[in-house]
């Protein structure tokens, strides 16, 4: 047993720390730390800086821009990135469709898409969920029918995050409605959003923002070469993809930064004769959250240290479940520190309520999503109960 990082790992951590804090523009990191929407251009700017230094897609195969890093190095990379409030590379590109194309795509698909995907020259969005297929994703109905060399798609996708910025969408579509198992009739296909017949419509959310969309497909004709891997094997690619998604959603670094912000701001709020940070009740709430986050971090390190064989660990469900709870708890605490200053919405810098405080309540509302997306907490509990506890 040994908790410490090796000298090489410590040097690597310092290298990452220095890079993220000197090469990524401070104004972008500060805006991101305050919870502001960065918009498309600044997200592209950051990812292209990362990619130019080989730091956008380190977990990809080396021939497509990946690094031959250990699991510990990958963990340090992500942790330092989050601690520096650098916006993460677009997960739809780097954590989802990129690895699927690299693992299951044709050589033509790899050459056409992977470099542009790593560099965010193509912005991808995800076409999985449908109005009637949320947690029960395998019940999806969007149809793709073969017509000559093409596929013709009809149906509707929803909760399409940042679809308004996207160039392409990767979709799960039903290609065999008569398959004996629902999962066996699904394919994974890549669609250019400029194709005629596609309509993207915004969904306004409870935080007042526009983050997700509905995407409608009406006789959308897609070349056969855009299907990834084998026909009707899409479900196994999706499971591969969602496995990647879940380990990335622990977000310990994000939550640490939020707790540190809450602490710093609480030291400036007066309560009685002292500050909010000096209030024993608040201090206990903060101390408890810090401890819960430490326990999660150590659990994540256990998973990292044991994942050298590259196999997905069933404990990743634990990381998703607990990680989303603590992200929610940390933005909740930050909002509670803001108190009445959390009331103004998008009121600008002319009033006394600080930008971080104005963003705190919308962020709180927005972060209710994290225990719903990517396999809700209830789905994660079902996975733990069945695949770990054998229930």
């Amino acid at each position: 047993m040994n908790l410490a990082l090796t000298d090489e790992e410590l040097a690597f951590r310092d290298e990452m720390r220095t890079f993220f804090r000197t090469k990524i523009p401070a104004d972008i990191r500060e805006a991101h730390a305050r919870g502001e929407d960065l918009g498309r251009d600044r997200m592209v700017e950051v990812q292209q800086i990362l990619n130019a230094h080989g730091l956008a897609v380190p977990h990809w195969p080396v021939e497509w821009g990946g690094k031959d890093w250990t699991p510990v190095q990958r963990h340090i990379w992500l942790d330092e990135l989050q601690l520096a409030s650098v916006p993460e590379p677009l997960s739809f590109n780097t954590a989802m469709v990129g690895p699927v194309i690299a693992a299951f795509g044709s050589q033509e698909q790899k050459e056409k898409f992977l470099p542009a995907t790593a560099n965010l020259d193509i912005w991808w969005c995800q076409g999985f969920s449908e109005p009637e297929a949320g947690s029960d994703l395998a019940s999806l109905k969007t149809r793709a029918v073969r017509d000559g060399d093409d596929w013709v798609i009809n149906g509707q996708k929803t909760w399409t995050t940042l679809g308004q910025h996207a160039d392409w969408i990767f979709c799960l579509v039903r290609t065999d409605p008569d398959a004996p198992k629902r999962q066996a009739g699904i394919s994974f296909i890549l669609v250019d959003l400029k194709t005629p017949g596609i309509t993207v419509r915004p969904i306004k959310l409870i935080d007042g923002g526009h983050e997700v969309n509905e995407v409608f497909f009406e006789d959308v004709r897609v070349p056969g070469e855009n299907l990834v891997g084998e026909v009707n094997q899409g479900w196994s690619y999706a499971k591969f993809l969602l496995g990647n998604e879940r380990t990335g959603v622990t977000q310990v670094g994000f939550s640490k930064v939020r707790l540190a912000q809450a602490k710093a701001h609480a030291a400036e709020v007066r309560v009685g004769n002292g500050t909010l940070l000096e209030d024993p009740f608040f201090a206990a709430r903060l101390a408890e959250l810090e401890n819960e986050l430490l326990a999660l971090e150590l659990t994540q390190l256990r998973v990292v240290a044991s994942s050298a064989d590259g196999k997905p660990n069933p404990a990743s469900s634990l990381l998703k479940l607990r990680g989303s709870q603590l992200q929610q708890a940390s933005v909740e605490l930050l909002m509670d520190v803001a108190g009445p200053d959390s009331l103004p919405y998008d009121a600008g810098s002319d009033i006394a309520s600080a930008s971080w405080a104005q963003h705190s309540a919308p962020t709180y509302l927005n972060y209710r999503k994290v225990s719903i997306y990517s396999g809700s907490s209830e789905v994660q509990r079902s996975i733990i109960a069945s695949s770990i506890l054998g229930l």
Partner: protein, 376 residues
């Protein structure tokens, strides 16, 4: 980073597990804790024979020079079987103090008997009416013509009634807290023995001008006591992990086998989802317990880490304990069935060397002193 036991440590763990599994099932344990002295002389002898009572001592003192990782591995197995043998109370904690601070003749006259299982120790430190972390002691040490004497009350003292030699903390005349050795048959020493709710044994020990011998060179031993407590906290947390793991195993087995409404309980999602939360809680506790152990193994003896770990263990222990009984239903209430005994032990651990609230109070008092918490 490596969270795994090495091969030697695994062997130690497996040896302990085998020995205790052979020795105890629920029925045998109930019989042992219902009779005096509350543990099995035969198991004690076996523990000594395989070297488990010599683990923490240096080779010079007849020990095995093992560290916190080995102790943690053994304690987890003790927790898993709820073995009532006083490995921590009678050997590791008081023996550790003697080993660390004792003069050569103290170590050589006491420790060989301890490692052989023939001499029992106890650490008499806790006093009535004061919560952890105590910085002062009401028990006083006075130096007279014929040496030192102690006066005061210690309670509860884990396995205090069966100890042959007591390590006792007491306020020194010039300030600070000293450590003393007291023989159990010393003048003016009264022991009131009792069972604790978890089936183990403890005692109130009263000293009235009781002759005592200075441990080691004497002087203020506050730092030594704190370090011993941090090691004991880590060991108790490792024990709790074993107990929680078994409580959860019993609960999931019960959900699979118990049938109601014509189906196994495991068909009810209201139960399986709560079991999933118990698993999460157990793994968080295990991570923190390993953190305590690995920090000690790295030579970091930090009271803040100990409080962090014991806070998590306390939270997990309450949740797992309460839910384990609830999900068993009536059978979980019976003394015959093991799960309640695990819950009782977990609560007892929580109230030893600082409760969850005590540790949270300490941590809350320190939040302004750093920006963020990190594992490394």
């Amino acid at each position: 980073m490596d969270f795994e036991l090495n091969d030697e440590q695994k062997l130690l763990r497996d040896t302990t597990k085998d020995l205790l599994t052979r020795s105890y099932d629920a029925e045998k344990r109930n019989a042992i804790i219902d009779s005096d002295p509350g543990w099995s002389a035969q198991v004690w002898k076996q523990l000594a024979e395989v070297g488990l009572l010599a683990l923490t001592f240096s080779a010079d003192d007849g020990g095995m020079d093992a560290g916190p990782v080995e102790i943690g591995a053994v304690m987890t197995e003790i927790g898993r079987r709820l073995a009532p043998e006083p490995v921590l109370d009678a050997v590791v904690t008081p023996g550790g103090l003697i080993s660390e601070a004792g003069r050569a003749e103290q170590r050589s006259s006491i420790l060989p008997g301890v490692t052989e299982g023939t001499t029992l120790l106890a650490f008499a430190d806790q006093e009535p009416g004061i919560r952890w972390p105590a910085t002062e002691r009401a028990t006083t040490a006075v130096k007279g013509h014929n040496g030192w004497t102690l006066t005061g009350i210690k309670n509860p003292v884990g396995h205090g009634a069966t100890a042959d030699i007591l390590v006792v903390s007491a306020a020194l005349p010039d300030g600070g807290v000293g450590l003393f050795l007291v023989k159990s048959d010393a003048r003016g020493l009264v022991r009131k023995s009792y069972a604790t709710h978890d089936g183990l044994r403890a005692a109130q020990i009263e000293f009235t001008d009781t002759p005592a011998e200075v441990l080691g060179e004497g002087g203020d031993a506050s730092a030594l006591i704190q370090a011993a407590q941090i090691r004991e906290q880590a060991a108790l947390c490792a024990e709790a992990v074993g107990a929680m793991e078994e409580a959860l195993r019993l609960t999931t087995e019960y959900l699979k086998t118990r049938r109601q409404f014509g189906v196994p309980l495991a068909k009810f999602q209201t139960l399986t989802h709560r079991a999933a939360d118990l698993y999460v809680s157990l793994e968080l506790a295990r991570s923190m317990s390993l953190y305590a152990t690995m920090s000690l193994a790295d030579g970091v003896v930090d009271p803040v880490i100990a409080s962090r770990v014991k806070l998590q263990i306390g939270r997990s222990a309450r949740l797992i304990g309460q839910e384990a009984i609830q999900m068993h239903g009536g059978i979980g209430m019976t003394a015959e069935y093991p799960v309640g005994h695990y819950v009782s032990r977990l609560v007892a651990i929580e109230h030893t060397l600082g409760s969850t609230d005590d540790h949270l109070r300490v941590l809350a008092g320190g939040v302004a002193g750093y920006e963020m918490v990190g594992a490394a």
